[in-house]
C-alpha cells in the first residue's frame, strides 16, 4: 500500500464557495482526494474576506488548501462543455449555489447523471433543494435562525446573541463529507451513483439533542427558550463567574454526588427535590447559590476548575478566548493549530483538521491555489486541449485570466 491517504485516487469537481462546501472538499483534499475547484473569473467571494496580505486572503487559504483551481465563465456553452468533459472523469461533483443555479448552467443532477451515471453529486444549500424557502439566498446565520438554534442562544427575555463563528457551515461540510464517502463506498460495493441533498437547516436542527423531543413529548407544555447562563431543563449545568473569569460546571450525571459533597450538602443526596437532573432544575436557584458561594471562597476560576475536575472529578472548564486556546499546552501538544506556509501570504495559523487517522498521522503538505492557477494544466492534462485552444478560450473570456495573488 503506497496510498497517500484514505481517499487517494478519488477525483472531485468542486463548484463550492465560502465555507460549508469548501470545508467538505478541504476534508477530502486532506484525505488525499484530487480536487479541482471551478471558480468564476473573479474567484470565490471568500477571496475578499480578511485578512488580506499581498492581495491574498487568509480566510480563503484556510478553507481551500489542496485544491487546483480553474476559472470559467459558467454562463458560456464552452465552459459548460469543459465541465461536462471533466465530469466524465471524476467520482464526485459538489456545489453549494442557491438551488436552481446549477440547472441554469446545465449542470444539475438530471444533466450530470446522464454525462456520468456513476457520479456522486452532492448539493449543499442553506434550506434544501425544494420547499417554500429553498430559493432564498442562504448563509450559516439564516440556517441558524430557521432551525431554532439562534433563538436558543442569548439572555432569557432579551434579544438572541449572534455567534461569531460558522457552526452550521463546518458541521454541514462534515455531514456532506460522510454522505459522499458512504456513497463512494456503496458504489465500490456494486451500487450506482446518486444525488445528495445536504442542508444547513437539517444539520443545525439536529443540534437540538433535547429540545425537539422535549417540546413534542410534553405536548407543547415545555417550549425551549434561550436561558442565558443556565440550561433550561436540567441542572446543575451552566456558566458561573469566579474572580474576573468565567467557568462552566456540569454535574447532571454521577458527578452530582461529588458536587453535593464538595459544597458540604450531603443532605441533598437524600432530598427528593434533588433526585434527578430535572427535579434539580426546579430547585436550581438553591443549587446555583451554593455553587456561587463556594466559588466566592476560591476567587480564581483556574483554581476552581482544578479543584472541581482534578480533586472531585466534576466536569468543569474555564471559558477561554481564541489566543488562550491556541497557546494552551494541551492544544499545542495535540496540534490543534496548523501552520500553513503560503508562498504569497506567508505563514498562517488555522484550525487543524479534526480527523486523525492512525495509518496517516502526518497531515499532507497542501497549498491554496490562486484564481485560475491550473487553467492550462487541467485543460491540457485532463482534456488534451492544445495551447491554441486554451489561448482562444482565454481570449473569448470563457477561461479567466490567471491571477497569482
Amino acid at each position: 500500500m503506497s496510498r497517500r491517504h484514505v481517499l487517494d485516487g478519488v477525483k472531485v469537481l468542486d463548484f463550492s464557495h465560502y465555507v460549508a462546501g469548501p470545508h467538505c472538499t478541504r476534508l477530502m483534499a486532506e484525505a488525499g482526494a484530487e480536487v479541482i475547484k471551478v471558480e468564476a473569473h473573479a474567484g470565490d467571494t471568500s477571496r475578499h474576506l480578511p485578512v488580506i496580505k499581498e492581495g491574498r486572503s487568509g480566510y480563503y487559504i484556510q478553507h481551500n488548501r489542496g485544491k487546483r483551481c480553474i476559472s470559467l465563465d459558467l454562463r458560456t456553452k464552452e465552459a459548460q462543455d469543459i465541465c461536462h468533459e471533466l465530469v466524465t472523469q471524476v467520482d464526485v461533483v459538489i456545489e453549494n449555489f442557491t438551488p436552481g443555479v446549477m440547472k441554469k448552467y446545465n449542470m444539475d443532477w438530471a444533466a450530470l447523471s446522464k454525462v456520468n451515471p456513476d457520479l456522486v453529486m452532492c448539493s449543499i444549500s442553506a434550506l434544501g433543494q425544494e420547499g417554500p424557502l429553498s430559493k432564498f439566498p442562504g448563509f450559516d446565520y439564516i440556517g441558524q435562525a430557521y432551525s431554532g438554534v439562534m433563538g436558543m442562544t442569548g439572555q432569557a427575555g432579551g434579544p438572541p446573541a449572534l455567534s461569531g463563528m460558522a457552526f452550521g457551515d463546518i458541521s454541514t461540510g462534515a455531514h456532506a463529507y460522510g454522505a459522499i464517502v458512504s456513497s463512494l463506498f456503496h458504489r465500490a460495493n456494486g451500487g450506482g451513483g446518486q444525488f445528495l441533498d445536504i442542508t444547513l437547516l437539517d444539520c443545525l436542527f439536529s443540534y437540538h439533542e433535547m429540545n425537539v423531543q422535549v417540546y413534542d413529548a410534553s405536548g407543547g407544555q415545555m417550549v425551549p427558550k434561550r436561558s442565558g447562563h443556565r440550561h433550561s431543563f436540567v441542572a446543575p449545568l451552566g456558566l458561573f463567574k469566579c474572580g474576573d473569569r468565567y467557568l462552566i460546571i456540569i454535574a447532571i450525571g454521577p458527578q452530582w454526588a461529588n458536587l453535593a459533597k464538595l459544597l458540604g450538602r450531603e443532605d441533598w443526596l437524600d432530598d427528593p427535590r434533588m433526585a434527578d437532573p430535572v427535579s434539580r432544575n426546579e430547585n436550581s436557584d438553591e443549587i446555583n447559590a451554593a455553587i456561587e458561594a463556594w466559588l466566592a471562597t476560591i476567587g480564581d476560576a483556574e483554581k476552581a476548575v482544578k479543584i472541581l475536575i482534578e480533586d472531585h472529578h466534576i466536569p468543569a472548564a474555564p471559558v477561554l478566548d481564541v489566543p488562550e486556546v491556541m497557546e494552551h499546552p494541551h492544544m499545542v501538544q495535540r496540534g490543534i493549530v496548523q501552520t500553513i506556509k503560503d508562498p504569497v501570504f506567508g505563514d498562517l495559523k488555522i484550525p487543524a483538521s479534526p480527523m486523525k487517522y492512525s495509518q496517516f498521522p502526518e497531515p499532507l503538505e497542501l497549498q491554496a491555489s490562486s484564481v485560475g492557477q491550473h487553467n492550462e494544466e487541467i485543460l491540457r492534462e485532463k482534456l488534451n486541449y492544445s495551447t491554441e485552444q486554451i489561448a482562444s478560450l482565454t481570449e473569448s473570456g470563457v477561461l479567466g485570466a490567471r491571477d497569482d495573488t
Partner: protein, 402 residues
C-alpha cells in the same frame, strides 16, 4: 441493488450520551448492524428527559436502529463476550474518557491483535493524548476550551450559553465521515486503523475566521463576543421588529439591495459605506437605520417580503415550536416521528444525510436495556441458554424494559 449502503457491516458500539451515539445512529440508519454495549445501569442519557413509562425520549432520539446489550465491562466474562463479538466486527466506536477502554482490555493495542482489519474510532472531549486527555468532558466543556463560549453574549458581560449540543452532533458527523473513509480505504486494500476524534478540535474548527485573523494580525485583532451584531462586519446581526427578531445580512452586493429595500439610496451613495471592512466603524449608525426602517414597516413578515424582493439574506428568529410547524420543515421532512412501543410517538430531528437512492429513513426502534442480550449471545456466539442464564444470575448481564 436494494441493499442499504452499509448492510452486512457490523459495529460494536460502546458510546453514550450524544457525540458517539450520533455517529453510530447514522451507521445504523445506513444499514450497518450496530450492537450497543451499555453498562448494567444503562447509558447515562436514559436519565435525561422526557420520561414516559420509565423510558427516555432523549435516549430514543439518539439510539434508533441499534441492538442493545447490557453488561458489566469490569468482569472478565463481559470482556470475553466483547472480544468474541469484535473478532467478526468491522468497526468499534467508543466515547469513554481516555483510559477506560484500556482498563476494560478493549484499547486499540488489544483489539487490533484480536481483529487486525478492525477500524476503531475513539471519540473524546480532548483527544486520546495531551495533558487534558483524561478529564471528563461534555459538549460545553469542549466549547469552553475551544474558545466558542467566549464568543457568545454581550461584550464585556458574562457569556451566554446555548441549550444545544452543537459540538456533539458535529463531532459525531466528523467521526462518521472518518469511519466510512477508513472502510473505503480498507475495501481498496488498505489496513484497519484507529481514528482519534475530539470535541475540542471539531469545535475549534468552527472558527472559520477568528484564528487566522488573530494570527495574521499578530494578535492585534482578537475576536470576542459582540452581542446581537457581528463583531467585525456590518450590517450583520439580529434586529428587533416590534415584538419579533429578525436576522439581516447586507454585505458586499447585498448592501445595495438592503439600501433599496429601506429606500435609503442616500446610504448606498455615502462614500463612508463603500468598503465592507470600513463599514464596521459605522455599525451603530447603520444598525439604527435598519431598526428605524423595521419599526416603520411594523410587521416582520412584511419586512421579510421586502428584503427578499431585494435579494437580501434574512430570516425570522424561530423558536422550536415554530420550526416544527413551519411549512418548509413540513415539506422537507425536517422533523421525523419515531413510533416507540413503550414511549409512544416521538418527534425528533431527521438525520441530515439525504441520499437519492435511499430517500426513506428506516423505521427503526431504540432497544430497551439489554434487549438483545439473549439473541446476540445465542446467534452470534453460540452460547447455550444455561450459560446465558448463569451470566444473568452472576449479575454480569442484565435487562430492563426501559
Amino acid at each position: 441493488m436494494t441493499q442499504k449502503m452499509l448492510e452486512g457491516f457490523k459495529v460494536i458500539d460502546f458510546t453514550h450520551v450524544v457525540a458517539g451515539p450520533h455517529a453510530t445512529k447514522i451507521l445504523a440508519e445506513h444499514g450497518a448492524e450496530v450492537i450497543k454495549i451499555e453498562p448494567l445501569d444503562g447509558d447515562l442519557s436514559r436519565l435525561l428527559p422526557t420520561h414516559r413509562e420509565g423510558r427516555s425520549g432523549y435516549f430514543i432520539q439518539h439510539n434508533v436502529g441499534k441492538k442493545t446489550m447490557a453488561m458489566d465491562l469490569a468482569t472478565q466474562e463481559a470482556q470475553e463476550i466483547c472480544h468474541e463479538l469484535i473478532k467478526t466486527a468491522d468497526v468499534v466506536v467508543e466515547n469513554f474518557s481516555p483510559g477506560v477502554m484500556k482498563k476494560h482490555n478493549m484499547d486499540w493495542e488489544t483489539l487490533k491483535k484480536i481483529n487486525p482489519g478492525l477500524i476503531m474510532c475513539s471519540i473524546s472531549c480532548f483527544g486520546q493524548t495531551g495533558p487534558l486527555a483524561n478529564l471528563p468532558g461534555y459538549d460545553w466543556i469542549g466549547q469552553s476550551y475551544a474558545g466558542i463560549v467566549d464568543l457568545m453574549g454581550e461584550p464585556g458581560k458574562k457569556p451566554v450559553f446555548g441549550d444545544i449540543a452543537f459540538g456533539d452532533v458535529s463531532t459525531g458527523a466528523h467521526a462518521y465521515g472518518a469511519i466510512v473513509a477508513a472502510l473505503l480505504h480498507k475495501s481498496r486494500g488498505g489496513n484497519g486503523q484507529h481514528i482519534d476524534i475530539s470535541l475540542v478540535e471539531v469545535l475549534f474548527s468552527y472558527h472559520e475566521f477568528s484564528v487566522q485573523l488573530y494570527d495574521s494580525t499578530d494578535g492585534q485583532v482578537l475576536a470576542t463576543r459582540s452581542g446581537s451584531y457581528h463583531g467585525m462586519l456590518s450590517p450583520v446581526g439580529i434586529y428587533q421588529c416590534k415584538d419579533r427578531y429578525v436576522f439581516i445580512l447586507g454585505l458586499n452586493h447585498q448592501w445595495e439591495g438592503l439600501t433599496r429595500a429601506m429606500e435609503r439610496e442616500d446610504m448606498f451613495n455615502d462614500p463612508r459605506f463603500t468598503d465592507v471592512m470600513a463599514m464596521a466603524k459605522y455599525k451603530d449608525e447603520i444598525n439604527d437605520a435598519i431598526e428605524e426602517w423595521l419599526d416603520k414597516v411594523g410587521d416582520v413578515d412584511k419586512a421579510l417580503e421586502i428584503l427578499r424582493a431585494n435579494r437580501v439574506p434574512c430570516a425570522p428568529i424561530l423558536n422550536i415550536a415554530e420550526v416544527m410547524d413551519h411549512p418548509h420543515s413540513k415539506e422537507r421532512g425536517t422533523v421525523r416521528t419515531i413510533s416507540d412501543p413503550i414511549f409512544g410517538d416521538l418527534r425528533v430531528p431527521r438525520t441530515p444525510l439525504r441520499f437519492s437512492e435511499f430517500p426513506d429513513i428506516p423505521d427503526d426502534q431504540a432497544g430497551t436495556l439489554g434487549q438483545y442480550n439473549h439473541q446476540i449471545l445465542r446467534e452470534q456466539l453460540g452460547y447455550s441458554e444455561q450459560k446465558i442464564a448463569d451470566l444473568e444470575t452472576a449479575g454480569i448481564i442484565t435487562s430492563k424494559n426501559i
